[in-house]
């Protein structure tokens, strides 16, 4: 492969003409052609590109759906059913969109946990990470408002419960809720504005994604060793090495996604959302979509007043704090070693946090008074709420106490001298003996 160093000489005169006036081809060549990627980036590095593709899928299907959807309390549910029954391939658009939300979150959550494991949030990538958290928040807002649009029972009661949380704000709470609703109840005005914002926010996400990618292309990608590339021997050009690797990963991801779209499209939904919204009938058990469950569990964990903070307000604060704390992560983690691969203690706490979040998700799905159960095993001696409180405490303990202390007390393993030394088999490039830990095979090559 000839990796021409810039400036690229384009053969096509048309391309040359355009490029000398608006250097888009030079830009693409620089950022996606010869852009140096650490050669050891494993398959977990696919999920940024996968998330980008999911964003596009959501926007395209969403635009088609909006052509047939009616944002009115009397027509919303029926218009979705029209899409499912009478619009040509409307069922396909809707199921792709509906499951697309779930798979967008799956991709993004894997992307985030990848960042947590390999320390991708550390200097100099703090802003890159923070922009990612902004994207997560925007995605949550967008997904929440999108779930309201079919105007089923869960749509209605979900929005009722969540918007009501804002009434916990001292002094102005009730006014804020009225302002959010555009009236004195969740009604047509609410549905209308949610539709409007649901259409707007994805384009805001596109904008922030652009900044996220721009910031990435300044610092370059992190890698499983967490050490910086020291020269061309540590990197490979983005094209063709990572374009093909991303494509392969994407196709595997799409396989699973399409499995759900075509064979279990309602698996991740709730049956109650096929009941038209009934403002006078409360469902026995209001649950959000699965991707909100851990946050929902933290919201419900605060069942007690804390000093002058009422339980309801406390829950709201904790829920928002659980995401906002990620903004501080680059400074909460005091360890100078990025990758968990060389942090023998952090590595374990990472998995504890991961399991903790899974348990929180399970707690979010249970009714507050239920005994805790997971994987079909019932733990009758402890209530879901108690488990939720323990896990919520641990979630914050991880970020606020463990991470700052670990950096001080943990002795990291010796780092490899360079990426290519850690990747290539012993003896392939001569060189001295490898430091401990460096010989580990990158996960993606397994």
């Amino acid at each position: 492969m000839a990796h021409a160093s810039p400036p690229p000489a384009f053969k096509n005169p048309m391309v040359r003409w355009i490029d000398s006036r608006l250097p888009v081809f030079t830009l693409m060549q620089k950022e996606y052609g010869v852009f140096p990627m650490p050669r050891n980036a494993n398959y977990f590095w696919n999920f940024g590109a996968i998330a980008m593709v999911m964003l596009m899928v959501m926007i395209v299907t969403g635009i088609f759906l909006s052509m047939h959807y009616t944002p009115h309390v009397d027509h919303a549910f029926n218009s979705v059913e029209r899409i499912m029954r009478d619009v040509n391939y409307g069922w396909l658009m809707r199921y792709v969109h509906m499951n697309g939300a779930s798979f967008f979150f799956i991709a993004v959550y894997i992307h985030i946990f990848r960042g947590l494991y390999y320390g991708s949030y550390k200097a100099p990538r703090e802003l890159l990470w923070m922009l990612g958290v902004v994207i997560l928040l925007l995605m949550m807002a967008t997904a929440f408002m999108g779930y309201v649009l079919p105007w089923g029972q869960m749509s209605f009661w979900g929005v009722t419960v969540i918007t009501n949380l804002f009434s916990a704000i001292p002094m102005v709470g009730d006014s804020v809720v009225t302002w959010l609703w555009g009236g004195f109840a969740v009604e047509n005005a609410t549905l209308n504005r949610f539709f409007s914002l649901h259409y707007l926010l994805p384009f805001v996400i596109v904008g922030v994604v652009f900044l996220h990618v721009a910031a990435l292309h300044v610092t370059g990608s992190n890698n499983p060793t967490g050490i910086d590339p020291k020269g061309p021997q540590d990197t490979l050009p983005f094209h063709p090495y990572f374009t093909i690797k991303d494509t392969f990963g994407l196709v595997v991801f799409l396989l699973i996604y399409c499995g759900f779209v075509f064979f279990a499209p309602n698996f991740m939904g709730h049956p109650d959302n096929y009941i038209p919204a009934q403002p006078l009938v409360t469902p026995a058990h209001i649950v959000p979509e699965w991707y909100f469950l851990p946050f929902y569990a933290m919201l419900r964990a605060i069942t007690f007043d804390f000093l002058f903070i009422e339980a309801k307000l406390g829950g709201v604060i904790v829920m928002f704090a659980s995401v906002f704390i990620l903004f501080l992560l680059p400074w909460l983690d005091t360890s100078r070693v990025r990758s968990a691969r060389f942090r023998p203690i952090y590595k374990w706490f990472f998995w504890v946090l991961f399991v903790n979040v899974l348990i929180l998700g399970q707690v979010g799905a249970l009714a507050a008074d239920d005994p805790f159960e997971m994987f079909g095993i019932s733990f009758g001696f402890i209530s879901a709420t108690t488990v939720g409180q323990i896990c919520t405490f641990y979630y914050f303990f991880h970020f606020l106490v463990l991470l700052p202390l670990l950096g001080k007390f943990e002795t990291p393993l010796p780092l490899p001298r360079s990426i290519h030394e850690s990747v290539l088999p012993k003896g392939a490039r001569g060189g001295g003996p490898l430091p401990a830990g460096a010989a580990a095979k990158p996960m993606g090559k397994a």
Partner: protein, 260 residues
């Protein structure tokens, strides 16, 4: 009326918020609900399709039994070609129903036989009339009922044949019937399906279980009319992606072969 609505809504809302926050128990009936047994439906699995003969018989059951109380607002008669009725059959079926149309040139509404393009007729003119006729309960619309209940078709089938005498100690409320598959155990709908209650033209014996099976099949089709097409397309999509994935894997190995 608006006042009562506002009060009820506020109460429902307070209940919901409190329940969600775990501050109070949401009011819901405390009966143990039984998990319906798993059935072998024709549409299960990646290659399963609807049993159209059963769905057609199920439509007959709906028409002769269910439709006296339950609407199916999302369905038009023309949709019935989806379970194998010919267009002529659908026209004839539709013509058996009267719908309100108009206004005509004199400004009057009038009744005419339904066309295939008309929606299924509604047994009641409004919710109030439906409740009045049903002891205060509202028979739910059945268009997507098979997707709107946990366990879907299994639940509907179990419910339809699940009527029993109440066990000792269960006090039925006025006008209620005992059915252990229904949340709380007490359901306003009486057992409507009886042996020989409908006459099948294809010679199938109209036992209770058969009718319940058929009408459940019809309900599932009504809730998800494009399922057969969806799975057909899904098999092609998955097949394509699987081959494509293998190709991409090979290309990836080839491209990366000079890096080791």
């Amino acid at each position: 009326m608006p006042m009562t609505t506002a009060v009820l809504r506020t109460l429902a809302l307070v209940g919901a918020v409190a329940g969600v926050l775990g501050l109070a128990t949401t009011a819901h009936a405390a009966g143990e609900t039984v998990t319906p047994p798993n059935q072998n439906w024709s549409w299960e699995g990646p290659f399963g399709t609807y049993d159209r003969a059963a769905a057609q018989r199920g439509f007959l059951v709906y028409k002769q039994v269910c439709s006296s109380c339950h609407s199916m607002e999302q369905l038009d008669y023309r949709h019935l070609t989806g379970i194998g009725f010919s267009e002529a059959e659908v026209s004839a079926l539709a013509a058996g129903f009267l719908v309100v149309d108009g206004p005509d040139e004199n400004g009057d509404m009038f009744r005419r036989p339904a066309l295939p393009s008309d929606g299924f007729t509604n047994p009641y003119e409004n919710e109030q009339m439906a409740r009045l006729a049903n002891n205060g309960s509202l028979p739910p619309d059945l268009s997507v009922i098979a997707k709107a209940r946990e366990y879907g078709a299994d639940y509907l089938y179990a419910l339809l044949i699940g009527y029993e005498d109440p066990p000792e100690g269960v006090e039925l409320r006025a006008g209620m019937h005992y059915n252990r598959y229904f949340s709380g155990g007490q359901i306003a709908m009486p057992s409507m399906i009886v042996d020989g209650g409908v006459e099948y033209i294809d010679g199938t014996e109209p036992f209770v279980n058969q009718q319940a099976w058929d009408v459940t099949t019809f309900m599932m089709w009504a809730a998800e009319p494009h399922m057969d097409r969806r799975k057909e397309m899904g098999v092609m999509v998955i097949g394509f992606l699987a081959v494509f994935a293998v190709l991409m894997w090979l290309v990836k190995r080839r491209v990366w072969s000079d890096t080791h």
